[in-house]
Protein backbone atom coordinates (compact mmCIF):
# COMPACT_ATOMS: atom_id res chain seq x y z
CA UNK A 1 0.00 0.00 0.00
CA UNK A 2 2.70 2.41 1.01
CA UNK A 3 4.73 1.57 -2.08
CA UNK A 4 1.71 2.33 -4.23
CA UNK A 5 1.45 5.66 -2.46
CA UNK A 6 5.12 6.31 -3.22
CA UNK A 7 4.71 5.57 -6.95
CA UNK A 8 1.46 7.57 -7.12
CA UNK A 9 2.89 10.63 -5.44
CA UNK A 10 6.01 10.32 -7.64
CA UNK A 11 3.86 10.35 -10.79
CA UNK A 12 1.84 13.31 -9.53
CA UNK A 13 5.00 15.19 -8.56
CA UNK A 14 6.57 14.69 -12.03
CA UNK A 15 3.42 15.92 -13.79
CA UNK A 16 3.11 18.94 -11.50
CA UNK A 17 6.77 19.90 -11.92
CA UNK A 18 6.61 19.57 -15.71
CA UNK A 19 3.45 21.71 -15.77
CA UNK A 20 5.09 24.36 -13.60
CA UNK A 21 8.21 24.43 -15.79
CA UNK A 22 6.23 24.32 -19.06
CA UNK A 23 7.98 27.28 -20.78
CA UNK A 24 11.38 25.64 -20.23
CA UNK A 25 10.38 22.03 -20.79
CA UNK A 26 8.10 22.29 -23.79
CA UNK A 27 10.05 21.84 -27.06
CA UNK A 28 7.79 24.13 -29.10
CA UNK A 29 5.32 26.97 -28.68
CA UNK A 30 1.99 25.20 -28.07
CA UNK A 31 -0.03 27.57 -30.22
CA UNK A 32 2.48 28.24 -33.02
CA UNK A 33 1.36 26.95 -36.40
CA UNK A 34 4.72 26.84 -38.26
CA UNK A 35 3.57 25.16 -41.48
CA UNK A 36 -0.10 24.40 -41.59
CA UNK A 37 0.31 22.27 -44.73
CA UNK A 38 3.80 20.76 -44.58
CA UNK A 39 3.89 19.90 -40.86
CA UNK A 40 0.22 18.92 -40.48
CA UNK A 41 -0.71 15.64 -38.74
CA UNK A 42 2.84 14.31 -38.50
CA UNK A 43 3.09 10.93 -36.79
CA UNK A 44 5.20 10.70 -33.60
CA UNK A 45 8.87 11.02 -34.43
CA UNK A 46 12.08 12.04 -32.74
CA UNK A 47 11.47 15.76 -33.30
CA UNK A 48 7.75 15.52 -32.40
CA UNK A 49 7.41 12.65 -29.86
CA UNK A 50 3.62 13.01 -29.66
CA UNK A 51 3.23 14.06 -33.33
CA UNK A 52 1.55 17.23 -34.57
CA UNK A 53 -2.10 18.15 -34.99
CA UNK A 54 -4.08 19.40 -37.97
CA UNK A 55 -2.80 22.95 -37.41
CA UNK A 56 0.82 21.67 -37.33
CA UNK A 57 1.06 22.35 -33.59
CA UNK A 58 3.32 20.10 -31.48
CA UNK A 59 1.07 17.78 -29.41
CA UNK A 60 3.68 17.23 -26.68
CA UNK A 61 4.00 20.96 -26.10
CA UNK A 62 0.24 21.31 -26.09
CA UNK A 63 -0.06 18.50 -23.54
CA UNK A 64 2.54 20.11 -21.30
CA UNK A 65 0.75 23.45 -21.37
CA UNK A 66 -2.59 21.64 -21.15
CA UNK A 67 -1.42 20.06 -17.88
CA UNK A 68 -1.34 23.55 -16.36
CA UNK A 69 -5.01 24.09 -17.21
CA UNK A 70 -6.18 20.58 -16.30
CA UNK A 71 -4.32 20.49 -13.00
CA UNK A 72 -5.13 24.00 -11.86
CA UNK A 73 -8.82 23.61 -12.74
CA UNK A 74 -8.89 20.37 -10.75
CA UNK A 75 -6.94 21.75 -7.79
CA UNK A 76 -8.88 25.01 -7.51
CA UNK A 77 -12.29 23.40 -8.02
CA UNK A 78 -11.43 20.81 -5.37
CA UNK A 79 -10.25 23.54 -3.00
CA UNK A 80 -13.62 25.27 -3.40
CA UNK A 81 -15.50 22.01 -2.92
CA UNK A 82 -13.49 21.10 0.19
CA UNK A 83 -14.03 24.52 1.76
CA UNK A 84 -17.77 24.52 1.11
CA UNK A 85 -18.28 20.89 2.13
CA UNK A 86 -16.25 21.21 5.32
CA UNK A 87 -17.96 24.40 6.48
CA UNK A 88 -21.43 23.18 5.57
CA UNK A 89 -20.98 19.76 7.17
CA UNK A 90 -19.26 21.17 10.24
CA UNK A 91 -22.04 23.65 10.90
CA UNK A 92 -24.74 21.03 10.39
CA UNK A 93 -22.98 18.57 12.69
CA UNK A 94 -22.04 21.06 15.39
CA UNK A 95 -25.28 23.00 15.59
CA UNK A 96 -27.43 19.90 15.20
CA UNK A 97 -31.17 19.81 15.72
CA UNK A 98 -33.48 21.43 13.18
CA UNK A 99 -30.62 23.28 11.42
CA UNK A 100 -28.88 19.96 10.82
CA UNK A 101 -32.08 18.33 9.54
CA UNK A 102 -32.77 21.12 7.04
CA UNK A 103 -29.15 21.37 5.82
CA UNK A 104 -28.88 17.62 5.34
CA UNK A 105 -32.20 17.34 3.45
CA UNK A 106 -30.84 19.98 1.06
CA UNK A 107 -27.74 17.85 0.53
CA UNK A 108 -29.89 14.75 -0.01
CA UNK A 109 -31.79 16.63 -2.71
CA UNK A 110 -28.58 17.84 -4.35
CA UNK A 111 -27.09 14.34 -4.28
CA UNK A 112 -30.12 12.94 -6.05
CA UNK A 113 -29.17 14.86 -9.23
CA UNK A 114 -26.27 13.27 -11.16
CA UNK A 115 -23.34 15.70 -11.14
CA UNK A 116 -22.49 15.31 -14.83
CA UNK A 117 -26.06 15.98 -15.85
CA UNK A 118 -26.23 19.02 -13.60
CA UNK A 119 -22.95 20.37 -15.04
CA UNK A 120 -24.02 19.82 -18.64
CA UNK A 121 -27.27 21.66 -17.93
CA UNK A 122 -25.49 24.61 -16.30
CA UNK A 123 -22.71 24.84 -18.87
CA UNK A 124 -24.98 24.40 -21.88
CA UNK A 125 -27.06 27.36 -20.74
CA UNK A 126 -23.93 29.46 -20.42
CA UNK A 127 -22.26 29.61 -23.75
CA UNK A 128 -18.51 30.10 -23.64
CA UNK A 129 -17.95 30.12 -19.92
CA UNK A 130 -14.78 31.94 -18.71
CA UNK A 131 -12.26 29.63 -17.06
CA UNK A 132 -12.66 30.96 -13.52
CA UNK A 133 -16.40 30.46 -13.69
CA UNK A 134 -15.91 26.88 -14.87
CA UNK A 135 -13.76 26.31 -11.79
CA UNK A 136 -16.42 27.80 -9.53
CA UNK A 137 -19.17 25.68 -11.10
CA UNK A 138 -17.09 22.51 -10.78
CA UNK A 139 -16.30 23.35 -7.16
CA UNK A 140 -19.83 24.32 -6.24
CA UNK A 141 -21.23 21.00 -7.45
CA UNK A 142 -18.62 18.80 -5.82
CA UNK A 143 -19.02 19.20 -2.08
CA UNK A 144 -22.23 17.37 -1.18
CA UNK A 145 -20.71 13.98 -0.38
CA UNK A 146 -17.89 15.48 1.68
CA UNK A 147 -20.30 17.59 3.71
CA UNK A 148 -22.09 14.45 4.82
CA UNK A 149 -18.87 12.78 5.92
CA UNK A 150 -17.69 15.87 7.80
CA UNK A 151 -21.09 16.28 9.42
CA UNK A 152 -21.11 12.67 10.65
CA UNK A 153 -17.65 13.01 12.17
CA UNK A 154 -18.32 16.37 13.81
CA UNK A 155 -21.56 14.99 15.21
CA UNK A 156 -19.77 12.10 16.87
CA UNK A 157 -16.91 14.28 18.12
CA UNK A 158 -19.19 16.89 19.63
CA UNK A 159 -19.87 14.56 22.55
CA UNK A 160 -16.26 13.53 23.20
CA UNK A 161 -14.60 14.28 26.52
CA UNK A 162 -11.98 16.67 25.18
CA UNK A 163 -14.72 18.81 23.66
CA UNK A 164 -16.56 18.83 26.99
CA UNK A 165 -13.27 19.71 28.68
CA UNK A 166 -12.62 22.59 26.29
CA UNK A 167 -16.12 23.88 26.96
CA UNK A 168 -15.60 23.55 30.71
CA UNK A 169 -12.45 25.64 30.41
CA UNK A 170 -14.25 28.48 28.69
CA UNK A 171 -13.78 27.93 24.94
CA UNK A 172 -16.52 29.41 22.73
CA UNK A 173 -18.53 27.44 20.16
CA UNK A 174 -16.58 28.56 17.06
CA UNK A 175 -13.30 28.00 18.88
CA UNK A 176 -14.27 24.47 19.82
CA UNK A 177 -15.38 23.73 16.26
CA UNK A 178 -12.37 25.18 14.45
CA UNK A 179 -9.57 24.51 16.89
CA UNK A 180 -10.63 21.31 18.59
CA UNK A 181 -12.95 19.40 16.27
CA UNK A 182 -11.95 20.22 12.67
CA UNK A 183 -8.26 19.29 13.05
CA UNK A 184 -9.48 15.85 14.05
CA UNK A 185 -11.54 15.64 10.84
CA UNK A 186 -8.51 16.58 8.71
CA UNK A 187 -7.67 13.01 7.60
CA UNK A 188 -11.11 12.67 6.02
CA UNK A 189 -10.71 16.01 4.31
CA UNK A 190 -7.26 15.17 2.93
CA UNK A 191 -8.47 11.86 1.50
CA UNK A 192 -11.52 13.53 -0.03
CA UNK A 193 -9.33 16.22 -1.59
CA UNK A 194 -6.94 13.72 -3.17
CA UNK A 195 -9.75 11.63 -4.61
CA UNK A 196 -11.57 14.82 -5.62
CA UNK A 197 -8.67 16.08 -7.77
CA UNK A 198 -8.62 12.84 -9.76
CA UNK A 199 -12.35 13.00 -10.19
CA UNK A 200 -12.40 16.62 -11.36
CA UNK A 201 -9.62 15.98 -13.91
CA UNK A 202 -11.80 13.35 -15.59
CA UNK A 203 -14.93 15.46 -15.24
CA UNK A 204 -13.29 18.53 -16.76
CA UNK A 205 -11.82 16.42 -19.59
CA UNK A 206 -15.26 15.03 -20.34
CA UNK A 207 -16.85 18.46 -20.37
CA UNK A 208 -14.06 19.93 -22.51
CA UNK A 209 -14.41 17.01 -24.89
CA UNK A 210 -18.08 17.93 -25.22
CA UNK A 211 -17.02 21.50 -25.89
CA UNK A 212 -18.61 22.69 -22.64
CA UNK A 213 -15.47 23.02 -20.57
CA UNK A 214 -12.26 24.89 -21.27
CA UNK A 215 -12.72 27.22 -24.24
CA UNK A 216 -10.11 27.94 -26.96
CA UNK A 217 -7.49 29.34 -27.15
CA UNK A 218 -6.87 27.75 -23.71
CA UNK A 219 -6.44 24.03 -24.03
CA UNK A 220 -6.77 21.34 -21.40
CA UNK A 221 -6.09 17.64 -21.96
CA UNK A 222 -9.80 17.17 -22.60
CA UNK A 223 -9.92 19.78 -25.33
CA UNK A 224 -6.80 18.35 -27.00
CA UNK A 225 -8.59 14.99 -27.24
CA UNK A 226 -11.48 16.86 -28.81
CA UNK A 227 -9.07 18.45 -31.36
CA UNK A 228 -8.13 15.03 -32.61
CA UNK A 229 -11.47 13.32 -32.24
CA UNK A 230 -12.73 13.80 -35.80
CA UNK A 231 -9.57 12.31 -37.35
CA UNK A 232 -8.85 9.59 -34.80
CA UNK A 233 -8.44 7.01 -37.59
CA UNK A 234 -5.84 9.04 -39.51
CA UNK A 235 -4.02 10.85 -36.66
CA UNK A 236 -4.64 8.78 -33.51
CA UNK A 237 -1.71 10.38 -31.66
CA UNK A 238 -3.50 13.71 -31.17
CA UNK A 239 -6.11 12.13 -28.89
CA UNK A 240 -4.19 9.18 -27.51
CA UNK A 241 -1.42 10.99 -25.62
CA UNK A 242 -3.57 13.49 -23.68
CA UNK A 243 -5.92 10.57 -22.98
CA UNK A 244 -3.07 8.55 -21.47
CA UNK A 245 -2.07 11.53 -19.36
CA UNK A 246 -5.61 11.88 -18.00
CA UNK A 247 -5.80 8.19 -17.16
CA UNK A 248 -2.37 8.19 -15.52
CA UNK A 249 -3.02 11.28 -13.41
CA UNK A 250 -6.48 10.11 -12.32
CA UNK A 251 -5.21 6.65 -11.38
CA UNK A 252 -2.33 8.20 -9.43
CA UNK A 253 -4.71 10.48 -7.50
CA UNK A 254 -7.05 7.60 -6.71
CA UNK A 255 -4.21 5.33 -5.63
CA UNK A 256 -2.81 8.03 -3.37
CA UNK A 257 -6.24 8.77 -1.94
CA UNK A 258 -6.86 5.10 -1.21
CA UNK A 259 -3.45 4.72 0.38
CA UNK A 260 -4.06 7.74 2.58
CA UNK A 261 -7.49 6.46 3.56
CA UNK A 262 -5.99 3.12 4.52
CA UNK A 263 -3.25 4.84 6.46
CA UNK A 264 -5.68 7.05 8.40
CA UNK A 265 -8.08 4.19 9.09
CA UNK A 266 -7.67 3.13 12.71
CA UNK A 267 -8.48 -0.46 11.76
CA UNK A 268 -5.33 -0.64 9.66
CA UNK A 269 -2.09 -1.51 11.39
CA UNK A 270 -0.19 1.13 13.29
CA UNK A 271 2.84 0.36 11.13
CA UNK A 272 1.23 1.99 8.11
CA UNK A 273 0.54 5.12 10.11
CA UNK A 274 4.08 5.28 11.40
CA UNK A 275 5.50 4.83 7.93
CA UNK A 276 3.33 7.66 6.69
CA UNK A 277 4.60 9.84 9.53
CA UNK A 278 8.21 9.40 8.58
Amino acid sequence: MVRHAGIASGVIAVIVVVALLAPWVAPYDPIAQPDIIGLKNLAPSFSHPFGTDSFSRDVLSRCIYGARISLSVAALATAIAITLGTLYGAIAGYVGGAVDAVLMRIVDAALSIPRVLLLIAILALWNGLPLWLLIVVLGATGWFGLSRMVRAQVLSMRELDFVAAARALGASGPRILFRHILPNVLPTIIVAATLGVGHVIILEAGLSYLGLGVQPPSASWGSIIQDGADQIGAAWWISLFPGLLIVTTAIACNALGDALRAAFDPRETAVTMAELDS
Binding site: D161, A168, G170
Partner: protein, 342 residues
Protein backbone atom coordinates in the same frame (compact mmCIF):
# COMPACT_ATOMS: atom_id res chain seq x y z
CA UNK B 1 -19.45 33.24 59.05
CA UNK B 2 -18.44 35.24 55.99
CA UNK B 3 -20.07 34.70 52.64
CA UNK B 4 -19.06 31.35 51.17
CA UNK B 5 -17.17 31.23 47.88
CA UNK B 6 -19.82 29.05 46.29
CA UNK B 7 -23.33 28.70 47.51
CA UNK B 8 -25.62 26.23 45.79
CA UNK B 9 -29.18 26.37 46.97
CA UNK B 10 -32.21 24.41 45.94
CA UNK B 11 -30.52 23.33 42.72
CA UNK B 12 -32.85 21.37 40.49
CA UNK B 13 -31.62 19.99 37.18
CA UNK B 14 -34.28 18.10 35.29
CA UNK B 15 -34.06 16.31 31.96
CA UNK B 16 -37.24 16.64 29.94
CA UNK B 17 -37.74 13.92 27.35
CA UNK B 18 -41.18 13.92 25.79
CA UNK B 19 -43.60 13.72 28.68
CA UNK B 20 -41.07 12.10 31.01
CA UNK B 21 -39.09 14.18 33.48
CA UNK B 22 -35.88 12.81 34.96
CA UNK B 23 -35.18 14.70 38.19
CA UNK B 24 -31.44 14.03 38.24
CA UNK B 25 -30.70 16.78 40.78
CA UNK B 26 -33.63 17.63 42.95
CA UNK B 27 -33.22 20.40 45.49
CA UNK B 28 -29.53 20.24 46.35
CA UNK B 29 -27.98 22.87 48.63
CA UNK B 30 -24.45 23.20 49.96
CA UNK B 31 -21.73 25.79 50.44
CA UNK B 32 -18.03 25.79 49.69
CA UNK B 33 -15.86 28.26 51.59
CA UNK B 34 -12.71 29.75 50.11
CA UNK B 35 -9.76 27.40 50.36
CA UNK B 36 -11.60 24.36 51.70
CA UNK B 37 -12.22 20.96 50.16
CA UNK B 38 -15.77 19.71 49.99
CA UNK B 39 -16.40 16.18 48.79
CA UNK B 40 -19.63 15.19 47.11
CA UNK B 41 -20.08 11.47 47.55
CA UNK B 42 -22.57 9.09 46.02
CA UNK B 43 -22.89 6.11 43.74
CA UNK B 44 -23.65 6.22 40.01
CA UNK B 45 -27.00 7.87 39.39
CA UNK B 46 -27.02 9.86 42.61
CA UNK B 47 -26.76 13.14 40.69
CA UNK B 48 -23.29 14.17 41.78
CA UNK B 49 -21.82 14.67 38.32
CA UNK B 50 -24.90 16.52 37.09
CA UNK B 51 -24.51 18.81 40.11
CA UNK B 52 -20.93 19.54 39.08
CA UNK B 53 -21.89 20.25 35.46
CA UNK B 54 -24.79 22.43 36.63
CA UNK B 55 -22.44 24.71 38.56
CA UNK B 56 -20.57 25.45 35.32
CA UNK B 57 -23.86 25.57 33.41
CA UNK B 58 -22.71 22.83 31.07
CA UNK B 59 -26.06 21.02 31.05
CA UNK B 60 -27.19 20.50 27.47
CA UNK B 61 -30.80 20.13 26.31
CA UNK B 62 -32.98 18.24 27.08
CA UNK B 63 -31.45 18.96 30.49
CA UNK B 64 -32.44 22.20 32.20
CA UNK B 65 -31.69 23.95 35.46
CA UNK B 66 -35.10 24.82 36.89
CA UNK B 67 -35.95 28.43 37.70
CA UNK B 68 -36.02 28.40 41.50
CA UNK B 69 -32.41 27.17 41.66
CA UNK B 70 -29.59 29.43 42.73
CA UNK B 71 -25.84 29.13 42.34
CA UNK B 72 -23.94 32.05 43.86
CA UNK B 73 -20.23 32.32 43.21
CA UNK B 74 -18.22 35.19 44.73
CA UNK B 75 -21.49 37.00 45.32
CA UNK B 76 -22.72 36.70 41.71
CA UNK B 77 -25.69 34.64 40.66
CA UNK B 78 -24.28 32.34 37.96
CA UNK B 79 -27.68 31.38 36.67
CA UNK B 80 -28.35 34.99 35.68
CA UNK B 81 -25.15 35.55 33.71
CA UNK B 82 -25.18 35.69 29.92
CA UNK B 83 -23.48 32.87 28.01
CA UNK B 84 -20.54 35.16 27.28
CA UNK B 85 -20.13 36.13 30.93
CA UNK B 86 -20.37 32.49 31.92
CA UNK B 87 -17.54 31.63 29.51
CA UNK B 88 -15.28 34.16 31.24
CA UNK B 89 -15.85 32.26 34.50
CA UNK B 90 -15.23 28.76 33.14
CA UNK B 91 -11.58 27.84 33.19
CA UNK B 92 -10.75 31.21 34.69
CA UNK B 93 -12.48 31.49 38.08
CA UNK B 94 -13.99 27.99 38.22
CA UNK B 95 -12.15 25.18 36.49
CA UNK B 96 -12.98 21.54 36.11
CA UNK B 97 -11.02 18.36 35.60
CA UNK B 98 -12.46 15.13 34.35
CA UNK B 99 -12.19 11.47 35.06
CA UNK B 100 -10.59 10.23 31.85
CA UNK B 101 -7.28 11.97 31.24
CA UNK B 102 -6.89 10.19 27.90
CA UNK B 103 -10.09 11.25 26.23
CA UNK B 104 -10.27 14.67 27.88
CA UNK B 105 -7.17 15.85 26.01
CA UNK B 106 -7.31 16.69 22.33
CA UNK B 107 -5.22 14.10 20.45
CA UNK B 108 -4.09 16.49 17.70
CA UNK B 109 -2.79 19.36 19.83
CA UNK B 110 0.38 19.31 21.90
CA UNK B 111 -0.22 19.49 25.63
CA UNK B 112 1.56 22.84 25.78
CA UNK B 113 -0.81 24.24 23.16
CA UNK B 114 -3.79 22.99 25.12
CA UNK B 115 -2.66 24.64 28.34
CA UNK B 116 -1.63 27.84 26.55
CA UNK B 117 -4.99 27.96 24.85
CA UNK B 118 -6.77 28.37 28.18
CA UNK B 119 -4.53 31.37 28.86
CA UNK B 120 -5.21 32.84 25.44
CA UNK B 121 -8.97 32.37 25.71
CA UNK B 122 -9.16 34.30 28.96
CA UNK B 123 -6.34 36.84 28.83
CA UNK B 124 -4.72 38.90 26.10
CA UNK B 125 -1.37 37.23 26.68
CA UNK B 126 0.77 36.82 23.59
CA UNK B 127 1.37 33.40 22.08
CA UNK B 128 4.84 33.36 23.57
CA UNK B 129 3.76 34.43 27.08
CA UNK B 130 0.94 31.88 27.09
CA UNK B 131 3.41 29.16 26.13
CA UNK B 132 5.77 30.23 28.91
CA UNK B 133 2.95 30.05 31.44
CA UNK B 134 2.05 26.59 30.16
CA UNK B 135 5.60 25.40 30.70
CA UNK B 136 5.69 27.01 34.15
CA UNK B 137 2.43 25.31 35.07
CA UNK B 138 3.66 21.93 33.87
CA UNK B 139 6.71 22.37 36.07
CA UNK B 140 4.42 23.18 38.98
CA UNK B 141 2.58 19.90 38.52
CA UNK B 142 5.84 18.06 38.99
CA UNK B 143 6.45 16.98 35.40
CA UNK B 144 10.14 16.67 34.73
CA UNK B 145 11.58 18.39 31.66
CA UNK B 146 8.42 20.49 31.25
CA UNK B 147 9.73 22.39 28.25
CA UNK B 148 10.22 19.17 26.27
CA UNK B 149 6.95 17.66 27.51
CA UNK B 150 4.99 20.73 26.43
CA UNK B 151 5.75 19.96 22.78
CA UNK B 152 4.51 16.38 23.07
CA UNK B 153 1.11 15.00 22.17
CA UNK B 154 -1.18 13.31 24.71
CA UNK B 155 -0.53 9.81 23.34
CA UNK B 156 3.16 10.19 24.16
CA UNK B 157 2.43 10.61 27.87
CA UNK B 158 1.48 8.12 30.57
CA UNK B 159 -1.91 8.20 32.31
CA UNK B 160 -0.57 9.92 35.40
CA UNK B 161 1.19 12.54 33.32
CA UNK B 162 -1.94 13.21 31.31
CA UNK B 163 -3.85 13.82 34.50
CA UNK B 164 -1.11 16.25 35.53
CA UNK B 165 -1.58 18.01 32.20
CA UNK B 166 -5.32 18.20 32.83
CA UNK B 167 -4.60 19.72 36.22
CA UNK B 168 -2.18 22.19 34.66
CA UNK B 169 -4.86 23.21 32.14
CA UNK B 170 -7.42 23.70 34.87
CA UNK B 171 -5.17 25.62 37.24
CA UNK B 172 -3.08 27.74 34.88
CA UNK B 173 -5.24 30.80 35.59
CA UNK B 174 -5.32 30.17 39.34
CA UNK B 175 -9.08 29.66 39.70
CA UNK B 176 -10.79 30.25 43.02
CA UNK B 177 -12.62 26.94 42.72
CA UNK B 178 -11.64 23.65 41.16
CA UNK B 179 -14.29 21.06 40.45
CA UNK B 180 -12.66 17.64 40.22
CA UNK B 181 -14.97 14.96 38.87
CA UNK B 182 -13.53 11.58 39.88
CA UNK B 183 -9.98 12.83 39.23
CA UNK B 184 -8.25 9.63 40.26
CA UNK B 185 -10.73 6.91 39.33
CA UNK B 186 -9.05 6.02 36.04
CA UNK B 187 -5.57 5.87 37.52
CA UNK B 188 -3.80 3.04 39.29
CA UNK B 189 -3.39 3.24 43.02
CA UNK B 190 0.15 4.56 43.36
CA UNK B 191 -0.53 7.27 40.80
CA UNK B 192 -3.82 8.07 42.58
CA UNK B 193 -1.94 8.93 45.75
CA UNK B 194 0.53 11.12 43.83
CA UNK B 195 -2.26 13.01 42.08
CA UNK B 196 -4.16 13.59 45.33
CA UNK B 197 -0.99 14.84 46.97
CA UNK B 198 -0.37 17.14 44.02
CA UNK B 199 -3.90 18.52 44.19
CA UNK B 200 -3.52 19.21 47.90
CA UNK B 201 -0.18 20.90 47.42
CA UNK B 202 -1.47 23.10 44.59
CA UNK B 203 -4.58 23.89 46.60
CA UNK B 204 -2.41 25.27 49.38
CA UNK B 205 -0.10 27.14 47.02
CA UNK B 206 -2.92 28.74 45.05
CA UNK B 207 -5.38 29.08 47.91
CA UNK B 208 -8.24 27.64 45.94
CA UNK B 209 -11.27 25.67 47.04
CA UNK B 210 -11.87 22.19 45.70
CA UNK B 211 -15.19 20.53 45.07
CA UNK B 212 -14.33 16.87 44.80
CA UNK B 213 -16.85 14.57 43.16
CA UNK B 214 -16.16 10.97 44.02
CA UNK B 215 -17.55 7.62 45.03
CA UNK B 216 -14.36 6.69 46.85
CA UNK B 217 -14.61 7.23 50.61
CA UNK B 218 -10.92 6.48 50.96
CA UNK B 219 -10.13 9.57 48.89
CA UNK B 220 -12.67 11.57 50.91
CA UNK B 221 -11.09 10.64 54.22
CA UNK B 222 -7.73 11.68 52.92
CA UNK B 223 -8.43 15.11 51.47
CA UNK B 224 -11.85 16.50 52.36
CA UNK B 225 -12.77 19.03 55.03
CA UNK B 226 -16.50 18.57 54.69
CA UNK B 227 -18.62 15.95 52.99
CA UNK B 228 -21.94 16.08 51.18
CA UNK B 229 -23.51 12.66 50.65
CA UNK B 230 -25.93 12.48 47.74
CA UNK B 231 -28.58 9.91 47.02
CA UNK B 232 -31.46 10.04 44.56
CA UNK B 233 -30.68 13.58 43.42
CA UNK B 234 -30.79 14.90 46.98
CA UNK B 235 -28.35 15.66 49.76
CA UNK B 236 -28.95 12.95 52.36
CA UNK B 237 -26.20 13.83 54.79
CA UNK B 238 -23.85 16.73 55.35
CA UNK B 239 -21.06 16.82 57.91
CA UNK B 240 -17.42 17.54 58.56
CA UNK B 241 -15.21 14.68 57.52
CA UNK B 242 -14.39 13.58 61.09
CA UNK B 243 -18.05 13.69 62.15
CA UNK B 244 -19.07 11.70 59.12
CA UNK B 245 -16.56 8.93 59.63
CA UNK B 246 -17.05 8.74 63.40
CA UNK B 247 -20.81 9.02 63.53
CA UNK B 248 -22.58 8.56 60.21
CA UNK B 249 -26.28 9.25 60.72
CA UNK B 250 -28.01 8.34 57.49
CA UNK B 251 -28.47 4.62 56.78
CA UNK B 252 -27.14 5.18 53.26
CA UNK B 253 -23.91 6.67 54.59
CA UNK B 254 -23.65 3.77 57.02
CA UNK B 255 -24.04 1.44 54.08
CA UNK B 256 -21.29 3.20 52.13
CA UNK B 257 -18.99 2.97 55.14
CA UNK B 258 -19.50 -0.73 55.62
CA UNK B 259 -19.01 -1.32 51.89
CA UNK B 260 -15.51 0.09 52.25
CA UNK B 261 -12.60 -2.23 53.08
CA UNK B 262 -10.94 -1.22 56.33
CA UNK B 263 -7.66 -2.19 57.89
CA UNK B 264 -8.72 -1.56 61.47
CA UNK B 265 -11.46 -4.17 61.44
CA UNK B 266 -11.05 -7.85 61.02
CA UNK B 267 -13.83 -8.58 58.56
CA UNK B 268 -13.67 -11.25 55.93
CA UNK B 269 -16.63 -10.05 53.96
CA UNK B 270 -17.61 -6.63 52.74
CA UNK B 271 -21.19 -5.55 53.08
CA UNK B 272 -23.09 -4.17 50.13
CA UNK B 273 -26.21 -2.06 49.99
CA UNK B 274 -28.90 -4.21 48.36
CA UNK B 275 -30.55 -3.01 45.14
CA UNK B 276 -29.67 -0.10 42.90
CA UNK B 277 -30.46 3.61 42.77
CA UNK B 278 -34.03 3.89 41.44
CA UNK B 279 -34.43 5.67 38.08
CA UNK B 280 -34.58 9.44 38.33
CA UNK B 281 -37.84 9.43 36.40
CA UNK B 282 -39.61 7.65 39.27
CA UNK B 283 -38.24 8.39 42.72
CA UNK B 284 -40.14 6.46 45.40
CA UNK B 285 -42.61 8.41 47.49
CA UNK B 286 -41.49 9.51 50.94
CA UNK B 287 -37.87 8.65 51.55
CA UNK B 288 -36.01 7.83 48.32
CA UNK B 289 -33.76 5.32 50.07
CA UNK B 290 -36.50 3.32 51.81
CA UNK B 291 -36.50 0.43 49.29
CA UNK B 292 -32.93 -0.36 50.19
CA UNK B 293 -32.99 0.63 53.84
CA UNK B 294 -32.90 -1.90 56.66
CA UNK B 295 -34.67 0.43 59.10
CA UNK B 296 -37.54 1.63 56.89
CA UNK B 297 -40.95 1.77 58.54
CA UNK B 298 -44.33 3.11 57.46
CA UNK B 299 -43.48 6.76 58.08
CA UNK B 300 -40.71 6.50 55.48
CA UNK B 301 -43.22 5.65 52.74
CA UNK B 302 -45.54 8.55 53.43
CA UNK B 303 -43.40 11.41 54.64
CA UNK B 304 -40.44 12.78 52.71
CA UNK B 305 -37.79 13.42 55.37
CA UNK B 306 -36.31 16.93 55.64
CA UNK B 307 -32.64 17.53 56.46
CA UNK B 308 -32.70 17.16 60.26
CA UNK B 309 -29.95 18.82 62.23
CA UNK B 310 -28.17 16.05 64.14
CA UNK B 311 -25.21 17.88 65.61
CA UNK B 312 -22.80 20.70 65.01
CA UNK B 313 -22.78 21.33 61.24
CA UNK B 314 -24.19 17.86 60.78
CA UNK B 315 -27.49 17.13 59.02
CA UNK B 316 -29.20 13.94 57.96
CA UNK B 317 -32.24 13.35 55.78
CA UNK B 318 -33.64 10.46 57.83
CA UNK B 319 -36.55 10.11 60.23
CA UNK B 320 -34.24 8.20 62.58
CA UNK B 321 -33.06 11.62 63.69
CA UNK B 322 -36.39 12.15 65.45
CA UNK B 323 -37.15 8.50 66.22
CA UNK B 324 -33.71 7.23 67.30
CA UNK B 325 -35.11 4.17 69.04
CA UNK B 326 -36.00 2.65 65.68
CA UNK B 327 -32.29 2.18 65.07
CA UNK B 328 -32.39 -1.04 67.08
CA UNK B 329 -35.08 -2.47 64.80
CA UNK B 330 -32.96 -3.46 61.86
CA UNK B 331 -34.72 -5.94 59.63
CA UNK B 332 -34.64 -7.53 56.20
CA UNK B 333 -34.44 -6.61 53.36
CA UNK B 334 -31.28 -5.83 55.15
CA UNK B 335 -27.72 -5.85 53.92
CA UNK B 336 -26.93 -8.79 51.70
CA UNK B 337 -23.64 -10.48 52.31
CA UNK B 338 -21.32 -11.19 49.43
CA UNK B 339 -17.80 -12.45 49.18
CA UNK B 340 -15.03 -9.94 49.51
CA UNK B 341 -13.61 -11.56 46.35
CA UNK B 342 -11.18 -9.08 44.90
Amino acid sequence: MTDPLLSVSDLRTYFHDGGVVARAVDGVSFDVAAGETVAVVGESGSGKSVTALSILRLIRPPGRIETASSIKFQGRELLQLSDGEMRTIRGNRIAMIFQEPMSALNPVLTVGEQIAEVVRVHTDASRHDAWERAVEMLALTGISAPRERASEYPHQLSGGMRQRVMIAMALVLKPALLIADEPTTALDVTIQAQILELLQRLQEQLGMAVLLITHDLGVVAEVADRVVVMYGGEVVERATVTELFEAPQHPYTEGLMSAMPRLDRDTERLVTIPGVVPPSTAWPSGCRFRDRCSYAWDRCATEHPPLYSVGNEHESRCHLAVEPLRRSESHTPSTVRVGAGS
